[in-house]
């Protein structure tokens, strides 16, 4: 023990002994200081001033640390001939302070810490809908509402100031005296009218801490983006985001950080969607009027989500207005849509119903707008009921349908149906649970019966029925634990004719898919944030033969740890480092030549098809400059295992043996991303540049040599911007430049028996020309008349130009021979510039 340590020990010991003996002495004293009688009055002075005044009047010495005396005012009070003890009890009430007599002084200290919890819902004060991701701040402690608008923060009993904020809403500040557990639902008012919220951007409080791994896009932001034919679209909006690549023009596919299209989990109210595209992929299946929130996890996926290697796209549907009836809708060159919402029982239950139908088949008779007849529709319905403050139920349904047919009566139909029933229950203020029953059904039918004497219908699909429970335990401020279990029964139809027992059909699969996860968020210190967790699962496949007998096929297991550390240098700068292992138990078998859902099929991991896995390492530095500008620099490295690709001459449709054409190997992707964004002001926008590569190395393909994946687009540059000229006019633009995607083209030819035979020398060894596109869109709000304000009628005209400088970006190529026997290739692409006009309204 050094002298310094001894000195400290001696002082502490002496102090404790003095306290003990002093207390003993006082207890024996007949005339306690606390019993002293005084008369005193306080006139809205601070607590500190009150103690000093009492000290002066009573001539008693008070010992305390001024830091523990909050700078708060006490109400005006007068005490006449009252004991000091009573006076102190009154003025210390609710302050968390206690007092005791020690020797000839009264010592003031903090009361022993008792933890209290405030919990509740943050909701839209106008519609009653829950707000996902709203921020609550109590002193330096932050909380965020979950997917159901629920929050819970536990703190020492004390008096606080609570601030609730949400993008596009007025910030609410209120005093909070947290002496006991408190249920507090907070209604936030929109800053402006719904359809003008596009002007409202990130509030000043949206500092680095909230700019983490999830990216959110609100419906109003979606509506302001440029789209094909003026149809606002979720997937196309995601394709405009940094780090997200579109493998080909017009596709609804997303390649994220070098991953395949099937490595993105698309959830609608927790139900998976296996084909999120309408109209060949030009449009996604999501009706913008029914969407409440869109979130994408691409850098780091917390353990409560998963099942895919690259990203999770989480779409929540609107619940409907709990207070008033409203209608909304719109019309564009592609479709017309209509939605109605309102209360079933005011403040208790609401609904939203929406319908969208394409207009493309209507054009056909007159304008022949499309060479192929095509139409689609989708339908959403959602309702909820608040049983009491601890229990709430939700029920939502989506159905979408596409019908494509030619003059020769060939047809291709596909549909997605999802349904989710959810039950929220608050066990206690710190334990929130959601139970979900989930149904999803995707079916794709390709019918070429008209010219064939045998039935030539080719069906693929997948149907899920699942149950899950998600628990959130708010242990204390900055420490949240999530855990859950799930069970899903999948029914795969990899490919079959209408007559399943024919030789052309592939065997169906039924799969029991069980999973569990643990996820914890911890603030280790004010600067250091940690998220870690794991997912574990069992995926047991049974093969159903042609006489509907099930045979055990293969069971695969997965364990997926993950961890993210975030160090905040200050409130505006942070460094994130993360690692995650992901597993994916199903594969989408795709044609390399063209992305089209009817030539693709989902198959489960089984004895012939391996489970996909990936290890992802990433880091990012983020800097919020002056609360206006946001800069992010990121690096990632991703190793993917059991990546499937088709061997030479593989064909998926009408091929019962295509599983044997699959080969499996490794994938490697890496890249650096730089993003610069301006979040507030009249001019807002984002500029990003990505350099990335993605390769595959699969035995049996390309002679076992490494080759570029079809998503390997090394240079990708994007600019999006909006300028708010006035409350009525906003002009937005989007520009994208990237390298063309790899393609396998013949490099030479030779003749055999009069035929020209192409020679290929490498998988994906050629590239399409570089891709670029510039879009422009103007949103014009008609002048709001006084009468409209009363009626709350709002409308927007949107004028757009897609592909402003008429760049012919190829979709795919085809080759043919001229009469001169010379080979010639053609690129198929969209036509050039596409103007659009659309109208939206809300009443």
């Amino acid at each position: 023990m050094t002298f310094v340590h001894f000195n400290k020990w001696f002082k502490n010991t002496t102090f404790i002994l003095v306290l003990i003996f002093s207390s003993f002495e006082i207890s024996l004293a007949q005339d306690s200081l606390l019993n002293k009688i005084v008369s005193i009055s306080f006139n809205r002075i601070t607590l500190n001033e009150a103690i000093q005044e009492l000290q002066k009047v009573s001539q008693i010495s008070f010992a305390y640390d001024p830091a523990i005396i909050l700078n708060r005012r006490i109400s005006a009070q007068a005490f006449s001939a009252q004991k000091v003890e009573i006076i102190l009890q009154v003025i210390f009430n609710g302050t968390g302070l206690q007092f005791r007599e020690v020797a000839s002084s009264i010592v003031i200290t903090r009361s022993p810490v008792s933890i209290r919890t405030i919990n509740g819902i943050v909701y839209d004060a106008e519609t009653g809908e829950n707000l996902i991701g709203a921020t609550l701040q109590i002193n330096q402690v932050k909380g965020v509402t979950n997917q159901y608008g629920y929050y819970s923060i536990s703190l020492p009993a004390d008096a606080y100031t609570l601030t609730a904020s949400y993008i596009g809403y007025e910030t609410k500040v209120q005093d909070l005296n947290l002496q006991k557990n408190n249920y507090l639902s907070i209604g936030l008012k929109r800053s402006t009218f719904n359809m003008q919220e596009v002007y409202v951007t990130a509030p000043a409080s949206d500092s680095i801490e909230t700019l983490n791994s999830v990216k959110s896009i609100s419906p109003s932001q979606l509506k302001g983006m440029p789209f094909y034919a003026g149809e606002a679209d979720v997937i196309k909006a995601l394709q405009m985001q940094s780090g997200v690549k579109n493998p080909s023009e017009g596709s609804s596919g997303l390649s994220i950080r070098g991953g395949n299209l099937d490595q993105n989990l698309v959830l609608v109210d927790e139900a998976p969607v296996y084909n999120p595209s309408h109209l060949f992929g030009l449009i996604s299946i999501f009706n913008i009027d029914a969407i409440k929130k869109l979130q994408i996890y691409k850098d780091y996926i917390p353990a409560n989500l998963g099942g895919r290697l690259s990203s999770v796209i989480d779409i929540k549907l609107e619940e409907g207005n709990l207070n008033d009836f409203h209608i909304k809708g719109g019309i564009s060159l592609l479709s017309a849509r209509f939605a109605a919402e309102g209360p079933f029982v005011k403040d208790k239950s609401s609904y939203l119903i929406s319908f969208r139908r394409s207009l493309t088949d209507l054009y056909n008779s007159g304008f022949r707008f499309f060479n192929i007849n095509a139409n689609y529709y989708d339908f959403n319905f959602k309702t909820n009921y608040i049983l009491n403050k601890s229990n709430r139920v939700y029920f939502s349904v989506y159905q979408g349908f596409d019908h494509l047919f030619t003059d020769n009566n060939y047809s291709n139909n596909w549909s997605n149906t999802t349904s989710t029933f959810r039950f929220n229950h608050i066990f206690n203020p710190r334990l929130f649970v959601n139970f979900s029953a989930i149904y999803s059904n995707y079916i794709n039918a390709l019918d070429i019966t008209s010219l064939a004497t045998i039935n030539k219908e080719w069906l693929t699909g997948i149907r899920d029925l699942g149950l899950k429970g998600d628990f959130t335990f708010y242990k204390r401020a900055g420490n949240t634990i999530q855990f859950g279990i799930s069970g899903t029964r999948h029914h795969f139809r990899p490919g079959e004719t209408a007559d399943y027992i024919s030789n052309l059909s592939l065997n169906r699969f039924r799969v029991n898919d069980y999973g569990a996860y643990f996820n914890q968020d911890r603030n280790l210190s004010p600067e250091l944030y940690l998220n870690y967790g794991f997912r574990a699962g069992i995926f047991a496949a049974e093969e159903e033969n042609r006489v509907n007998r099930l045979e055990k096929n293969k069971t695969v297991y997965n364990f997926e740890p993950r961890l993210q550390l975030q160090y905040s240098f200050n409130s505006n700068q942070a460094l994130k480092i993360s690692y995650m292992r992901n597993s994916q138990n199903l594969q989408l078998v795709q044609n390399n030549e063209i992305s089209y859902s009817s030539f693709e099929t989902w198959i489960p991991a089984n004895s012939k098809v391996k489970q996909q896995q990936s290890d992802v390492f990433s880091t990012a530095y983020t800097h919020l400059v002056n609360r206006w500008y946001f800069i992010e620099v990121g690096l990632y490295y991703k190793k993917m295992y059991n990546q499937a690709d088709l061997t030479d001459h593989s064909q998926i449709v009408f091929n019962p043996l295509f599983e044997s054409s699959l080969r499996f190997g490794e994938g490697t992707a890496y890249g650096s991303e730089i993003t610069f964004a301006k979040k507030t002001g009249r001019l807002t926008g984002e500029l990003s540049y990505i350099y990335s590569r993605s390769f595959r190395k699969i035995m049996g393909i390309n002679s076992g040599l490494k080759y570029p994946a079809i998503y390997d687009l090394p240079n990708d540059f994007k600019i999006s911007g909006s300028y708010h000229f006035s409350n009525r006019l906003t002009v937005s633009t989007f520009f994208n430049y990237s390298n063309g995607r790899p393609v396998t083209l013949p490099v030479g030819f030779f003749t055999d028996n009069g035929s020209k035979v192409p020679i290929y020398e490498g998988r994906n060894s050629s590239r399409f020309p570089d891709y670029s596109r510039l879009d422009l869109v103007a949103e014009l709000k008609p002048k709001i008349k006084e009468n409209d304000v009363k009626k709350k009628f709002l409308s927007i005209w949107t004028f757009g130009i897609y592909n402003l400088y008429s760049r012919r970006n190829p979709l795919f190529y085809r080759v043919t021979q001229l009469e001169s026997h010379r080979n010639i290739g053609f690129e198929e692409s969209f036509s050039g510039v596409i103007p659009s006009i659309s109208y939206s309204f809300k009443y």
Binding site: Y410, T744, F812, S829
Partner: protein, 298 residues
Amino acid sequence: MKQIFIFFSVISVGFILSCEKNITVSPPAYNNKVSITGFIEPDSIPVVYFNRTVPYFDKAVKKNELMIRNALITISSNGSTDKLSLDSVFDKIDCQFDYFYNGHNKILANTKYDLTIISEGKTYIANAVTNLFAPAIDSVSYVSNYNDLYGEHEGVVTYFKDVPNQVNYYRYEMIRSADTSIMKAEATIKRACLGKDTVTVHEIGRAVFEDVGKEGKQITIIVEPAYSHKKGTKGRIFIQSIDKNAYVFFSQLDRQKLAQFNPFVEPVFLQEGQFGNKAIGFFAAKKNSKPITFTYPE
């Protein structure tokens, strides 16, 4: 197959608001190889085709632009060497000369032959053994509607017996006459060179067959005719017994041709054969069955 292809083509061509232009993709630099194809058959003169290959979109497409002159080509066996000479015949349908190297000595049965080609400083070597047995055709018939994996079509049906106790590979061939009244691949044969003449054509089956699982048993193959026909049109049908090198090559070619104009099928990379990475092709033995005459019933 046809139906699927038509459907896909309709989708492709009619893709929404699509437009097309000449391809602007630049394939990687091509290191031109040569192609060598040569069959030897007992009691026949050896014939070897020796041509250059060119970049896929090259303008050089005529046979005289592709042929390689001044090559030294020999076929040797048991100490004797046959030096092949450049020869040609005029193809009236294709309206151009067909070039090949012709031998002078008849090929013997049960003999190993070595092919050596020396051209432009490079040497290409392969060998083949003429030890194949010809199968016996039992009968032939015709079906107007036949469905297989690729769709519905008419077909000439050939029944033949597999040669027992060995691995065999087979290919179909029909020899018949053609004039400008018939069509090939849905296009009328042009009169430019053929005029009113009638020429002999060889319809060689695109597919090749292996006798796996049919050892010594009757094999049935159905082949879609390449040329149009009328009731009473006659042809002579052979079944070629070919060696493994030829089978592997033609098997790849069959899949290659299917994939060539169909963007929905993965392309086929020709694997290295007898000549390694220096040349594409084969040098193989074959043995034709005895022909059987077939008359189209419709």
